[in-house]
């Protein structure tokens, strides 16, 4: 319990520090944030009114205080471009990113854990000789390039899947759930999710394999063999169970990093998620929106790091014992 509290405190400290870095990074960068939507016809008075409206006439210290207190209440300011609250815009696209990330992560980790266990069992065979270089290659391929190849083959070449977006334009649905479970949405989801899954499965695969190799050398495995248990029982009930723990931790960490890393995949497939929102906001110099999207991505990353920490701590008594002694 004490450990959880100290990690929690630590997490808030990191959140605050990263938030502060973000604030000053966006504020101290060259160029005026208003340049994006001031044209020749705006008068000096209008410009001043805009600057006041966004609170840019206040001192840096005041702005920092406002930013922090507002962010705590979930208010991330107004988008320059959309003239709507940032929180609202981000929350609209966040479900798309979460669905994309989770569906690809689940596919990737189930496949990766199974394939990793399989490769560990066949250590030294030709299957391993082929499997490992393939796994390493998928981790080395740029996600966006993988996405481009997928698009060229399955969307443009064969015409099996749509080429981008999350829904056919003009499609109307009864509610959000009906939209997400519609055939239209799922067929749009297939290619980006598959691309991400191919990229992500390498880590659980290699992790599972090396854990399995370690566990298979333990005495309780030898014991199982001496008892005459079948290979399948040893593999699934004894070895895989123990090797899964670090993979579960990697899964939590994976959620955090994938949400930030989705940026390129979302851009390739024009997937309306938070990563693409960030890219567009940065390109349009929409600072409040970019900052808000960035902050949400950071928030998810840090929370997931925390959860990974805690699950590891709770699930493995050895770690718990080492920390308390």
């Amino acid at each position: 319990m004490k450990y959880i509290l100290s990690r929690l405190l630590h997490m808030f400290l990191v959140l605050w520090a990263v938030g502060t870095i973000l604030f000053f990074m966006f504020r101290l960068m060259p160029g005026t944030p208003l340049a994006a939507f001031i044209d020749n016809t705006t008068t000096v008075e209008q410009q001043e009114a805009l600057i006041r409206q966004f609170g840019l006439d206040k001192s840096l210290g005041e702005q920092y205080w406002l930013f922090m207190t507002n962010a705590l209440q979930g208010d991330l300011g107004q988008s320059f471009f959309f003239k709507r609250p940032v929180t609202e815009i981000v929350m609209e696209v966040l479900p798309n990113t979460i669905i994309l990330t989770m569906s690809s992560l689940i596919v990737a980790y189930i496949f990766g854990a199974l394939a990793g266990a399989y490769l560990a069992w066949h250590r030294g065979s030709w299957i391993e000789g082929v499997g490992i270089p393939i796994a390493l290659t998928t981790r080395a391929a740029p996600e966006f390039w993988l996405g481009m190849v997928m698009l060229a083959i399955f969307a443009f070449g064969l015409g099996w899947f749509p080429a981008g977006g999350a829904n056919t334009s003009g499609a109307i649905f009864a509610n959000e759930w009906a939209r997400i479970f519609s055939w239209d949405y799922l067929s749009h989801l297939a290619l980006p999710a598959l691309t991400l899954a191919i990229y992500l499965q390498g880590l659980p695969l290699l992790l599972m394999r090396s854990n399995m190799l370690e566990v298979l050398q333990e005495e309780f495995i030898t014991m199982g063999r001496m008892k005459g248990l079948s290979n399948r029982t040893i593999l699934l009930n004894h070895a895989a169970r123990n090797a899964l723990l670090p993979v579960a931790t990697a899964f939590a960490l994976g959620i955090g990093s994938a949400i930030g890393g989705n940026v390129v995949v979302e851009t390739v497939f024009s997937w309306p998620g938070i990563g693409r929102l960030l890219v567009n906001a940065v390109a349009a110099s929409d600072y409040p929106l970019a900052q808000g999207a960035f902050l949400i991505i950071t928030f998810v990353l840090i929370i997931m790091n925390f959860i990974a920490d805690i699950t590891y701590h709770l699930l493995d008594p050895r770690v718990r014992f080492a920390a308390s002694s």
Binding site: H10, L13, V14, L15, A17, V18, I21, M25, F26, M29, P30, G31, P133, L136, T137, R139, A140, A141, P142, E143, F144, W145, L146, M148, V149, L151, A152, A155, F156, G157, A163, S210, L213, E214, Q217, S257, I259, G260, G261, V263, V264, T267, V268, G275, L278, V279, V282, A283, A290, A293, F294, I297, T298, L301, I302, N305
Partner: protein, 308 residues
């Protein structure tokens, strides 16, 4: 030659020891390659790309940014591969083969500088944190937690958008955010090294902490630094490609990422111009995989437990 005074001897010796350490770790890179087939393949790929990068000026057929015309003065747009244009031409009439060759150079420059910066920072911080411990260690490790709390790719995107478009943005972003990985491992290694007899011996002979750290301890962690550097090269190249693909890269240099961005934006996917967007991706994969292979070979020798 006149006898050098003692002081210069004392100053020059540590440099030699350090250089020897560097030489040893480079030498071990080749001995690793002899023992591990993965590492050998990785090293061969690196050498091949290095040769291409060095002789890029001789290998290209055209200036990679030059807009080309056919003999009858039409724009050489979207030409398929031929004996004149080995990989065809782009939508705006540029030679894809020449772009691919020149891209090798920028990829290697970004990859190697970024790897050097991030590992240099990580090694120095790991050495200091592990050796001095106490509040220095705590402060540096908190800093590491904060750096790991910043989402990497979004940070580089914002950095690249705010600073002048240049390849160095990627190097800066990687140096600022990715050092904790190597720093943590090197710190742990230094913590065990500082209790060894040879460090104690150095302390007894009156060597100061910095001298012990950089002359006696540092050479022993260089192999670990090398391991992280070989992976960091790949990370840097992948990141540079992503940033260029998103349109935040420099427009006056050709890189594999900018080639892919050009192909994507000019609808090469819809026209099925595989000869345009497949080769740069394969080059990126080859060089990143080479880094993975080398680090794998290193790992098996540094941590032989896994080899059993």
């Amino acid at each position: 030659m006149p006898q050098a005074p003692d002081t210069t001897l004392a100053i020059s010796r540590p440099r030699n020891t350090f250089l020897k350490g560097v030489g040893r770790s480079l030498g071990s890179a080749f001995s690793v390659a002899r023992r591990d087939p993965y590492a050998a393949v990785g090293l061969a790929i690196y050498l091949a790309f290095a040769v291409i990068a060095i002789f890029a000026d001789q290998l290209v057929h055209n200036d990679p940014l030059e807009i080309l015309f056919t003999p009858d003065y039409d724009l050489a747009r979207n030409l398929p591969p031929s004996s004149e244009f080995w990989l065809g031409t782009t939508y705006s009439g540029r030679d894809i083969y020449s772009q691919l060759i020149m891209g090798t150079r920028s990829a290697l420059i970004v990859g190697l500088t970024a790897a050097f910066c991030v590992v240099a920072i990580g090694t120095v911080i790991g050495l200091i944190a592990g050796y001095f411990r106490g509040w220095v260690d705590t402060a540096l490790m908190r800093l590491a937690d904060i750096a790991l709390g910043v989402p990497f790719l979004p940070f580089v995107i914002v950095l690249a958008a705010f600073l002048e478009p240049s390849q160095w943005n990627v190097v800066i972003g990687i140096a600022l955010l990715l050092w904790p990985n190597s720093a943590r491992v090197i710190r742990a290694q230094v913590m065990s090294l500082r209790e060894r007899a040879f460090v104690e011996a150095a302390r007894v002979t009156g060597a100061g902490p910095w001298r012990i750290l950089f002359v006696h301890v540092a050479p022993n962690v260089l192999a670990l630094s090398f391991l992280y550097a070989s992976v960091a090269v790949g990370w840097a190249i992948l990141t540079e490609a992503s940033i260029s693909f998103l349109g935040f890269g420099p427009s006056n240099t050709v890189s594999w990422g900018s080639m892919l961005q050009d192909a994507y934006a000019s609808q090469a996917l819809g026209r099925g111009q595989y000869y345009w967007f497949i080769p740069p991706g394969l080059c990126i994969i080859a060089i990143v995989v080479a880094g993975f292979f080398i680090s794998r070979g290193y790992e098996e020798i540094l941590f032989p437990k896994l080899k059993a």
